[in-house]
């Protein structure tokens, strides 16, 4: 029996060492990014540096490039050192960025004109509105990208879905960040908040999509599981987009008001942690169930 085991190694174990692990790298990147962006925000809040507009924009663009560079370094390059790399990461990121540029942003800004009516609504209406507009657009586009680029041909393990979804989030938010810096010309510290917000929104949305794909593809789950996850993705976009503005905007009084970047930062960190925790829990659960099913089948 033992020899048989050696002759026929556990395919799961073999695959495990062939694929680049996803979660730890994802978590590490988020920690590094959050720390760097927090540093910039604190710099802005407490030292209030007066930067030349050109320098500010250059720093903002450099900061916007950070998630992409970090992702290339920590998630893409290592792929080429493992036996079975995920070859379509850059493609997914690039196509996601292009869809954001060609469809996502124009649809939200020009067609839905969310900036004209949504900010003036109540919090609940804003959540609903952003969910059904920006959330639906973003989730739909990112799902479509994953569907046509990696689903199912590039899905070998659950981690693939997470890795590609992360790539989609990096690409999509990367373009959104550049557009934001170009359109709003934010100060460096405010840019850091908005960059984190975009990344959080896209990452949360992508992770839910990935979870849906994992469940649907690897567990052959009930057909509603994937759409529910995509819905959750859209909802997460609506929720974070609607709340981050409210958290950022301080209450008005006779003393005036100021923006509250630290409040917004805390909200975004909480959103990242909660999303990661929720998705990881469901992901692990799904994986555990399958491993248990596989083990029972194997034994």
């Amino acid at each position: 029996m033992l020899s048989e085991t050696r002759l026929q190694p556990d395919p799961l174990r073999e695959d495990t060492y062939s694929f680049l692990p996803v979660w730890r790298r994802l978590g590490l990147q988020l920690v590094i990014l959050s720390a760097a962006l927090l540093l910039i925000v604190l710099l802005g809040v407490f030292l209030q540096p007066r930067l030349d507009a050109q320098l500010g924009r250059l720093l903002s663009l450099t900061t916007a490039a950070m998630p992409v560079v970090l992702w290339l370094y920590a998630s893409v390059l290592p792929e080429y050192r493992v036996a079975r790399p995920r070859r379509r990461l850059i493609g997914v990121a690039a196509v996601s960025a292009l869809t954001a540029s060609a469809i996502g942003l124009p649809l939200v800004q020009e067609f839905f004109r969310v900036q004209e009516w949504l900010p003036l609504q109540s919090v609940f209406a804003r959540i609903l509105g952003y969910t059904l507009t920006a959330g639906a657009v973003d989730a739909g586009l990112k799902f479509a990208v994953l569907r046509y680029l990696i689903y199912p041909q590039s899905l070998r393990v659950r981690g693939d879905a997470i890795a590609y979804a992360f790539a989609g989030a990096v690409g999509y938010s990367g373009f959104m960040n550049i557009a934001l810096i170009w359109q709003l010309e934010p100060t460096w510290d405010t840019a850091a908040i908005y960059l984190l917000a975009n990344l959080t929104i896209q990452l949360a949305s992508s992770l839910f999509i990935a979870l849906g794909i994992v469940e649907s593809y690897f567990s052959d789950a009930y057909p509603l599981v994937l759409p529910i996850n995509v819905l959750a993705a859209a909802l997460s976009t609506g929720l974070i987009t609607a709340l981050v503005g409210g958290f950022m905007s301080g209450p008005l009084s006779t003393a005036g008001n100021t923006d509250r970047p630290l409040f917004a930062f805390a909200l975004l960190l909480a959103a990242i942690i909660l999303t990661l925790a929720a998705v990881y829990f469901l992901y692990s659960n799904s994986e555990r169930r399958e491993r248990e099913a596989y083990s029972s089948q194997w034994n």
Binding site: P11, L12, D15, T16, S18, F19, P21, V22, W23, R24, F112, R113, V114, E116, W117, L118, L120, Q121, A125, L128, G129, T131, L132, T133, G135, A136, V137, A139, G140, F143, R147, P152, Q153, S154, L155, R156, V157, R158, G159, G212, S216, Y217, F218, D220, A221, Y222, P223, L224, V225, L226, P227, V230, L231, A234, E287, E290, R291, Y294
Partner: protein
Amino acid sequence: MEFETGRSPAIQLTPRQRWAIAITYGLIVLGLALGVNLRDGSLNLASDYRNLEAGISAKYPARWLLEESGPFIFRVRDMAYRGFNTLIEVSAAPVGSDTTERNLLDQLTLQRSQVLIDYSVLGYEDYRLADGSAAISMSYSFVSRDSNPFLEGVSSIVYGLDILTIRRGQALIVAFRADAAIYLRELDTLRWFVQNLEF
């Protein structure tokens, strides 16, 4: 410690997976449709205006500021727009048996040229009201500037359109003004307003 399980790529999707994808697309389309509906509902949300004394009822965009004190019956302004606040103003003017619509429009031109910067009439056109009756419209432009002398007011080029009709011995003038940058888009609001105007 990260632990991953794997399986061979499936070439063919199961019916469940196909259904899942289809439902997902359907859900996205449904969501977008609801989004469009929500957008239209918000952008076209209307408030009602009734003035029994003047015999006028109208709908105007919600959250526009309603004003009734001034040389007009009522006026509504979009205070959220960052620039010249788009406005629609309804006023009445007495007419004599010899008064023509052009007389009234020329009178408006003379008055406005005294108070508006660079007021210039662009042209006259016939206008058909919602009930099919004829009216005349006059388009014009001027420069708007905040008059507070202690602030560095921003000048805006404003396009305007007056729709004038004479009924029951008085002229009803619907004046519409919007920032030149959004004038064409805002014309839809005017058309909608005129369609819902009863007098």
